[in-house]
Amino acid sequence: MLQLTGVIPAIPFFSFLLLAVFGPRMARKALSFIGVGSIAASTIISAIVTAAFIPGPPSGWAYDQVIWRWISVSSFQADIGFYLDALSVVMVLVITFVAFLIHLYSTEYMEGDEGYSRFFAYMNLFVASMVTLVLADNLLLLYLGWEGVGLCSYLLIGFWYTDPANGRAARKAFIVTRVGDTSMVIGLFLIFQRLGTLNIQDLMHRAAQQWPVGAAVAIAAAALLLGGAVGKSAQLPLQTWLPDAMAGPTPTSALIHAATMVTAGVYLIARTHVLFSLAPPVMLAVAVIGAATLLLAGCSALTQRDIKRVLAYSTISQIGYMFLALGVGAWSAAIFHFMTHAFFKALLFLAAGAVIQAQHEEHDIFKMGGLRRMIPITFWAFLISGCALAGLPIITAGFYSKGMILWGAWSSPQGAPALWIAGLVGVLLTSLYIFRVIFVAFFGEAQIPVEHPPRLAKNLPMIVLSVLSIAAGWLNLPPYLGNKLWLDDLLHTSLPALAEKPVGWLTEGWSEGSITAAFVLGLFLAYELYLRHRDATRPLTENALGRAIHEFWYADWGFDFLYDKLFVAPVVWFAQVDKRDFIDKFYDGLAGLSRACYRALSATESGRMRWYAASIVGGTVVFIFIVLIL
């Protein structure tokens, strides 16, 4: 059954080709059938592969399927090959399943849009690229998928291309991630030059043999790959593109900019974990980047008014948690959080999309209100996913995955109390900003009448994801709840387990208790500030300092401003100067001369016959004069 692996990315790819070529001439029903059906087929096949893999794993818990040799130039070989182990099995199953639900949701969300076939073509191509990225057995094929998802992200952010702002957002996302991608591709060159292979398992094997821990080349390679991961996963300092990426249709935000693509950086680091283990300074950098990002993005999320931008900063912040987990060597905790995050964040976006369509495309939460009674299923979906995001104890999945990460941040040898505290403050911020949205948008007085209440195709994915946002946590029950770490045990067949050091005074139970306390505090603050007294935050923003901080956080800590001044303005200035350089003067002159000649000649075309006759006569006289006299 494992031979079916290669089919998983192939189906969406071929359906993309079908939709791209014949889509505009097909009926809506046929489009939906192909667009959603292809992902459903992929999901079924990945479920079959998973069902075959877990009970009867191949030797070494890994299966490599080489479809054909892609490139062979002297010593450089790259295959179209798919590598199946516990990590990629979990990733592929989650990606295809969430993608299927979001495609189903999109049939209703996009039903009135004229770009229906284009949308599904892009989305199918995205799923094909993402699955290729995850299954690739070498870094070159992984890079192909990496760029493929980047392309689809660009196309879908700028999906409504008639608005120039959407085009700008798309270009910004593409260019900013390109900075990281360049770093990554240099990393690939370095790895190939030093290790002679790009096959991931081979290169990790050789690196472990050839490079001592802390070797300069290992640090360089890991740091360059980290650059790629930071760009793709919107971490500090390349996080600025993700909030603007919300210009795309909401299902796109759910699939690409929340559940799957932005976690590709997390996957890359987990996939090449041996390289990172050989470079302790880079590991520390990953953890610090994660901790800093989760705090900064959490603060920014507190100040946003646009419901999708709150969720975008929340995504940045949650991926910060995953980076924190990776940085302290809690590999499986990061993947666990990836999975729970994929469920609850996709659900948050789907619910937000339903809210936005029900409210006449209104994004501002302060213009909404009272949605709790009007669209109850959406409300419950948003509430459940919000609780999962904030980490409602025991019940929701987010609590378990965050608990594992925080425990890793404390107990791992690379961990530190400061990282643990950052994560805990992050829980408080998360709880505060998500309940702010819930209380402001769903409670209180109704402000905008509801139109287009969600129907079955929207509700069904939301219900399924609501169940998963709760149940996914039970895959990893911590010691005080029976110690059934199914997912953790599975992932440890391909990722090393967390190395625990002698812990201090804090036990895992107390760590989780602290999360509970932070969650409750955030919930209480949100209740006091946004539900009980609706204007309670006004005094905070009325004094100068409060307003300055609010604006600073609202503008993403001034990163956009800084990058505008530091990078964009000089490049634009240089382009302006370059446009007017002296070489162009000659060509400009040539163009000016021919334009002047054209003007002079066209002036002679007056339409007066006598003028033409006179020209002929004059010309003849001149020629006769030349012939006779000269």
Binding site: E605, S606, G607, R608, M609, R610, A613, A614, V617
Partner: protein, 104 residues
């Protein structure tokens, strides 16, 4: 008996004067009828030059060329008159400058 011959120079001079008159008429008159007439005069001036030269060299070629010019003039006048009628229908006047709106 031999007819008293007119010197070729006289014939050519007359042809030149006629051609110049025709050209001036073409350049100064705006009425299409006069334009056509001027062109006729120019053609006939050219024909006269051929005749004079043919008589001088005692060659029939000059008269042959004049026949060609006559045929040409006839066809030119038929086309020209057709254009004249169209112009009159279109603009109600025979002013050639009135047909300058296409600047062609």
């Amino acid at each position: 008996m031999r007819m008293p011959t007119i010197p070729m120079q006289h014939g050519l001079l007359l042809a030149g004067i006629l051609f110049a008159l025709g050209t001036i008429g073409l350049l100064v008159r705006r009425n299409l009828v006069f334009t056509l007439m001027s062109i006729e005069i120019m053609l006939n001036a050219a024909g006269l030059a051929f005749i004079a030269a043919g008589a001088h060299w005692v060659q029939a070629d000059g008269q042959v060329m004049f026949l060609f010019i006559l045929a040409l003039a006839a066809s030119e006048v038929s086309v020209g008159l057709a254009l004249l009628l169209r112009l009159y229908h279109q603009h109600g006047v025979l002013d050639t400058d009135s047909a300058s709106e296409m600047r062609g």
